[in-house]
């Protein structure tokens, strides 16, 4: 059963600490997306990759967030330093690129920054 895997599922940290979230996309999918979900803003696109190349990260605070895809099986989202306003659920999604809009989401990483 192919699925997107995210770790950690939950993370509580203190302001100023570094946070790294990881995502394993579905094998064979060539597009990977990072979204952030909050009650106020809903789902916001942070960054996305096609064939491991970053195509857009305009939704991401550049000074503290970074997204990478070191290989086809791993995408990472790093926050350094973290702030309380970063508290949210972060979702990774992958797609085959053949049916635009049909994305497969992971179960999310719930981040709480104290």
């Amino acid at each position: 059963d192919a699925r997107v895997t995210q770790t950690p599922r939950h993370k509580v940290t203190e302001m100023g600490q570094e946070v790294t979230m990881r995502c394993q996309p579905i094998l064979g999918h060539n597009t990977v997306f990072w979204y952030r979900q909050t009650m106020m803003q809903g789902l916001e696109l942070l960054a996305y990759f096609r064939n491991r190349a970053p195509l857009d990260d305009s939704g991401m605070p550049k000074d503290r967030f970074s997204a990478e895809m070191p290989d086809a099986t791993l995408a990472t989202l790093k926050i350094q330093p973290s702030e309380p306003r970063d508290s949210a659920v972060y979702f990774c999604a992958s797609g085959s690129g053949q049916v635009t809009g049909e994305l497969f989401f992971g179960e999310g990483s719930r981040l709480t920054v104290l």
Binding site: Y35, L43, Y48, R50, E107, G108
Partner: protein, 111 residues
Amino acid sequence: EDQVTQSPEALRLQEGESSSLNCSYTVSGLRGLFWYRQDPGKGPEFLFTLYSAGEEKEKERLKATLTKKESFLHITAPKPEDSATYLCAAPGGGGADGLTFGKGTHLIIQP
């Protein structure tokens, strides 16, 4: 600016009581309108893609329709297991493949 707006924000129905959820969009050069379902503590799950005005898609008790300015998700004789947040989305939020999501309609079906 590309926008996707959903209404109502929340909807409570009795089991068997049919209704519709609305999604209006202002996206230039629309390349599809997508519906997702999200259960608590889970990621969104893809339901439908609609590409052109007049198109309809069905799955069990759900039917999605599309006009030039909005989409509807019709729920016929819903059951408690249909309770979820329903999200619509359109391409345009950051590049060719990025999706702009609405904030969703939180649907509760009471037995």
